[in-house]
Symmetry: C2
Subunit: 206 residues, 2 copies
Amino acid sequence: MVNHSYKLYYFNMRGRAEPARFLFHLAGVPYEDVRIEREDWPNHKEEMPWGQVPALEVDGKKLAQSAAIYQYLAKQFGYNGKNDWETAQVQELLGSIDDIFSAMRPVFMAQDEAEKKKVMEKIVADTVIPYLTRLQKRFEANGTNYFVGNSLTVADLVFMVTFASFKDRFAPGVIEKFPKLDAFVAKVSQEPKIKEWIEKRPKTDM
Amino acid sequence: MVNHSYKLYYFNMRGRAEPARFLFHLAGVPYEDVRIEREDWPNHKEEMPWGQVPALEVDGKKLAQSAAIYQYLAKQFGYNGKNDWETAQVQELLGSIDDIFSAMRPVFMAQDEAEKKKVMEKIVADTVIPYLTRLQKRFEANGTNYFVGNSLTVADLVFMVTFASFKDRFAPGVIEKFPKLDAFVAKVSQEPKIKEWIEKRPKTDM
């Protein structure tokens, strides 16, 4: 493998950079984990391809959009499915969870905590629960402890990170209603290299 | 190439199925173009992986999420970039336009035509114009008549379809403010196989 120079730009939080950080750790590939403080963001926004992070820099060239970053790294490191159909399923699953993030936008725009809670409850009932119901069926139908094929892909990493953030912060008690998904998070989090990163990573609020 | 059996499920409109239809036409690969009428949709919703269309069926297995469908077909037919970095750029561009569709959601939820117009004007000013400004710069920086590399990819097809729908329906006069993007649509639409499909395809409102 050629040695590339990688930089990952994001805020000082897990969020949408964390699946990429897991990939680097799993592959044992060094990278610069650039964590921009909120107050410095205006100084860096225009350096990013779409004025957004996460952004990945590979040998000086930048790539944005979290799904593109995840699948590019996953392809390099062997976590993007074993054939084109599996790769397509990974992309389908990343798209499906992005739809949920889009549906949650009104929560982040809500004015105060009370309104935020009310908006989130409606989105959980109307969108998140039906989605997780389908997703759990899909997971069961695959018949392994992974979402695609019989080995870890970046789709699993994204679900693990997302479900953990739901449990800890965004929708406490919801993932717990889906025992197969909850067991999936618990089991994947115990894989040695994954556990290692969880223990080693910088401690941040989210 | 192995002969696969393809079915593409969508409504009887161009919309999010059209880039896939262009790919089949460009590749000369036969497929069943299943167009579900709105009133029949409740009978088919549960047959789809996430209760959504477009969905692609390949040899009896279904795939959802438009970007996953586009890139899967583009990979099979040679329109997904010439290497991993180009493929990542295609995915980045598909993600970027999806962000714009997400930002436009309030338009489709608006109650009446007057509100719809007002909401759309704000989204155009706050989101669409800054996006197209960046996108036009990106297009110029690539230095060919395509968004990625020096040949047609599915990203070009998605932009062509999207810009045409902006011009015709969703945001008249906006693309016209970006002469390089406007010229791109005009030029790509004249490529012989693309022109052929535009002339041949079923005539629908959108």
